[in-house]
Amino acid sequence: MANIFAFAEQRAGELRKVALENVTAARALADATGGEVHVLLAGSAGIAQKAEQLGKHGADVVLVCEHDALKDYNAEAIAALAADRIKSGGYRVAVFSTSAQGRDLIPRVAAKLGVGIVTDVTDARIEGDAVNVKHPVNIGKVIATASIASTPAVIGLRPGNTTLVENTKAARVEQVQPVGDPSASRVKVKEMKQGTSAKLDIGEAPVVIAGGRGLKSADGFKLVDDLADAFGNAAVGATRAVCDDGWRPHSEQIGQTGRVVSPDLYIAVGISGAIQHLAGMRTSRTIVAINRDKEAPIFKIADYGIVGDVAEVLPALTAAVREARKSH
């Protein structure tokens, strides 16, 4: 029997989808050995209300830490708290996400515990004395199976890679205290500029419409925005080429030096399909490419392709998607 720890990421008091992914994955690990799932949820007063949602995805215990200084992500305080809980709980695996916050948090936690860590994990199993994980290396061109020999093993899941499963548990809520003074951090968030908050994030949206140089200009991206709008559940991504040109912010960049996404549907619009771009989207479930060059490498990994000019194909596709969504 092995209990599993999971971390519940929140922003502005709302759980992020990766929080539920972590709990779902932790549940599967715990069920394989008959253990419990304990989830750490930290935030300002009132965050405890989110415990129920964590219970729905399989949390047995939600450890809630409420403190004003934990309202925003507070790296030092959260790392100290997580490491302390993991140590005292004697968990076999600690499950985090390889989100922007997770990337910052997990190595600190592993360092405090002095244990093995692997990020961007696409599969994890407890096998005998080891925790074996799949982890894409060399920008996803090779898949490593790595073995973590320590207890606990600290893992960061690839966001979007875990299909949420409801597995309702009546989660017990336990209040826990911060470690030290959370206001005393050497690193402080001074300001947070939320992007257009109405829009979905590329890491969370089930559909991602990504645009490249084929859109010709920042204004050309309106075609992509319109298609995303028609889907209603889509986020907009971009290639490095267009982020470098300032057509889109770097936070939307997908690829080797940008973000890695695995949506249900990825539509590449006017994107050539350079290997560095594929690194960020090749594990998407269904890939569609629209490009006027039938030799473009993107067609090699696309499930469906249309050879054509974006100016002609996108408006037609947007209208058709709108129609299809209406008849639902």
């Binding site: 790392a79 990337r103 910052d104 190595p107 600190r108 360092a111 093995g116 860590i117 692997v118 990020t119 982890h135 290396v137 060399n138 920008i139 996803g140 090779v142 898949i143 490593a144 199976t145 790595a146 973590i148 020999a149 320590s150 050497r186 690193v187 402080k188 968030v189 001074k190 300001e191 947070m192 500029k193 939320q194 992007g195 257009t196 908050s197 559909v207 490095r240 936070s251 030096t257 940008g258 249900d264 290997i275 479930r285 269904t286 890939i287 569609v288 067609f299 696309a302 499930d303 469906y304 392709g305 249309i306 050879v307 194909v313 408006p315 037609a316 058709a320 998607v321 299809a324 969504r325």
Partner: protein, 250 residues
């Protein structure tokens, strides 16, 4: 200001990788190696701070086989002052082991800032910098795409999912560098000549125990072959039909 930059020698990702007979490493024959891009931006950031201050020292560290010295030389030819090579037969996959060895060397250096790349493309882990920060008990800001230093404090910009964060930090600090912070300079001919005379010390890396090992490597499964649905707007109805009935995503 005393600044260290940790740089890694990594293979060019355009290569077609082959798995060695042992099944746990890649065949290095024919691969081209260079400094990790993120680490080149880290070197650039350190050099800019030194130039702005008009004084200081930039020390470059790299852990790896003898060839890692070429990577250090590249940073020296960009303008860094001296290099430290931590010799190991090969670069282990376990980022904690790498961090431990780097921290052991950095510990007594009284550095004000230690720069890392956000991530190395071969390990795809992004963990060495923050682990070093914990081991040295330094403040740490990861994945920065903006940096201002004034009065012994810093402000850094970070890109989050759909948001930007501005954080203040105290020195000494570990910073890991994201894309967008700067554009790395190319070594000038003069820089390359000067680098040949700069100090490059080599000593064995103290890697310690490894907790994470590669059990096996495999090529990713091929995606099922796709199809060109058609040309131009005329192909849209068929695409929509496939998305609804075959892929079931609409």
């Amino acid at each position: 200001m005393k600044i260290a930059v940790c740089v890694k020698r990594v293979p060019d990702m355009d290569a077609r990788f082959r798995i060695s007979a042992d099944g746990t490493s890649l065949d290095e024959a024919g691969l081209k190696f260079d400094i990790n891009d993120f680490d080149a931006w880290a070197v650039e950031a350190a050099l800019q701070l030194k130039e702005k201050a008009g004084q200081g020292e930039v020390v470059v560290l790299s852990l790896g086989p003898a060839a890692a010295q070429e990577t250090i030389r590249k940073a020296l030819s960009m303008g860094a002052d001296r290099g430290i090579h931590l010799a190991a037969d090969r670069i282990p996959f376990d980022g904690f082991a790498i961090a431990r060895a780097l921290a052991a060397e950095l510990k007594d250096g009284s550095y004000d800032l230690i720069f890392f790349g956000k991530m190395s493309p071969d390990s795809s882990n992004g963990i060495v910098g923050p682990i070093v920060a914990e081991l040295l008990d330094y403040a740490c800001v990861t994945a920065i795409s903006g940096l201002e230093m004034a009065d012994g404090r810093g402000t850094a910009k970070r890109e989050l999912e759909g948001a930007q964060e501005f954080v203040e930090f105290t020195l000494p600090a570990v910073l890991t560098v994201d894309e967008g912070l700067n554009t790395a300079r190319y070594p000038s001919l003069k820089g390359i000549m000067a680098a040949k005379k700069k100090t490059l010390e080599s000593k064995p890396a103290q890697l310690g125990d490894t907790m994470v090992t590669i059990k096996s490597l495999a090529m990713p499964p091929d995606r099922p072959p796709g199809k060109i649905v058609g040309e131009g707007a005329a192909a849209v109805p068929e695409l929509v039909r496939l998305l609804q009935t075959e892929a079931k995503v609409l």
